[in-house]
């Protein structure tokens, strides 16, 4: 059984690609054959976040147009066995993604034995985002604790419930909320929406919260998805998300303000 998972958000810059990269690596590291597809035609970035930007030869649109085979376009990840990356085209526009084309690529991946097909959605609610979510079985909606991000996520949830193949068949896309850039200190000070606030408003189950962390930027600088940085809180939080996605029960971490030690209090 293969599962198609869309990483979406509506708003840009909230951490979709970071999340897609880390979750794809995490799933593959757990022994699941995984493909991650960049749907952001014209503004591809998954290749850069995953550090494979110099290995791109063919892309998603080439495969759809029959200019390359899927095998030629897939980039094999060297860090996680069984992980393949399908980059977006940098030169075409989003209209190149046709429903039939996307479906044929997804079906071919399924027949090749991929267990998870992770679709990294572009921002917005235009064609690219629509194509990324259309064939999804499950959705991870990435939200930041900030008003515009929460509003856009709600809009995207509405689309998941109406504009997907599952919805058209009277079925539902399983939704997960992932809160990124969470800062317990700022929540404690009262100037950031808390997890409870966001869950109250969006009313879908939370798969995890990623703490605001400098290691995310360091990871993207180096092209090494942050989940591989197992010393960072963000990396560990992503590992927890992957475990929960695979059905394990894992307690949430890093969501409370860290208690200051005696010395820290002395010098505060």
């Amino acid at each position: 059984m293969s599962k198609v998972v869309v990483i979406t958000s509506g708003k840009g810059g909230v951490g979709k690609t970071t999340t897609a990269a880390s979750i794809a690596i995490g799933l593959a590291k757990q022994g699941h054959k995984t493909a991650v597809i960049d749907f952001d035609v014209g503004l591809r970035n998954l290749d850069l976040i995953m550090g494979v930007e110099r290995r791109v030869v063919y892309d998603f649109v080439n495969v759809i147009n029959g200019e390359a085979t899927l095998k030629q376009a897939l980039i094999r990840d060297k860090r996680a066995d069984g992980l393949f990356i399908l980059p977006a085209s940098q030169t075409r526009d989003k209209e190149s993604l046709t429903k039939e084309g996307v479906e044929s690529v997804i079906e071919e991946l399924k027949s090749e034995g991929f267990e998870f097909i992770v679709c990294d959605s572009p921002a917005g609610i235009e064609k690219g985002a629509y194509m990324a979510m259309y064939f999804a079985d499950e959705a991870i909606v990435v939200t930041n604790p900030e008003v515009s991000s929460v509003r856009d996520s709600d809009r995207v949830l509405g689309l998941l419930q109406s504009k997907t193949r599952k919805a058209e068949q009277g079925d539902v896309v399983k939704e997960h909320l992932l809160i990124a850039r969470y800062s317990p200190v700022r929540v404690d000070e009262g100037d950031m929406l808390s997890l409870e606030d966001i869950l109250d408003i969006l009313a879908i189950p939370m798969i995890g919260a990623i703490p605001e962390s400098g290691s995310v930027l360091q990871a993207s600088n180096r092209g090494i998805p942050v989940i591989l940085d197992d010393k960072s809180q963000a990396g560990q939080a992503y590992s927890d998300v992957v475990a929960r996605f695979l059905g394990e029960t894992v307690p949430h971490r890093f969501l409370e303000v860290e208690k200051k030690g005696f010395l820290q209090r002395l010098f505060a």
Binding site: V147, R151, G158, G190, D191, L193, D197, I201
Partner: protein, 87 residues
């Protein structure tokens, strides 16, 4: 109350303000984007507004028309926030 706690209180208001604003906005938008909401909803609302205004001074924001789909039946909910009593 010291100066510090004054600032703290200001900050506490910002997350609360965010939540309240979002709740109002999202309830409104969910209504508008409801996939099966009947087409007559906007007209119904504006006609209701004019009837209500004959009797009560209310603003657009004080009247909320919600459409919800149930299993057995659909629910049309009308919520009017009355102005505060003036002594």
């Amino acid at each position: 109350m010291g100066l510090l706690s004054y600032f703290k209180k200001q900050k506490q208001n910002s997350a609360l303000a965010a939540k309240e604003r979002l709740q109002i906005l999202i309830a409104h938008e969910r209504n508008a984007h409801h996939p099966h909401a009947p087409d007559y909803l906007p007209n119904l609302k504006s006609e209701l507004m004019s009837v209500i205004r004959k009797y009560i001074e209310v603003s657009e924001a004080d009247v909320n028309v919600q459409y919800e789909e149930g299993h057995q039946c659909d629910v049309l909910e009308l919520n009017i926030i009355l102005p505060e009593k003036q002594d």
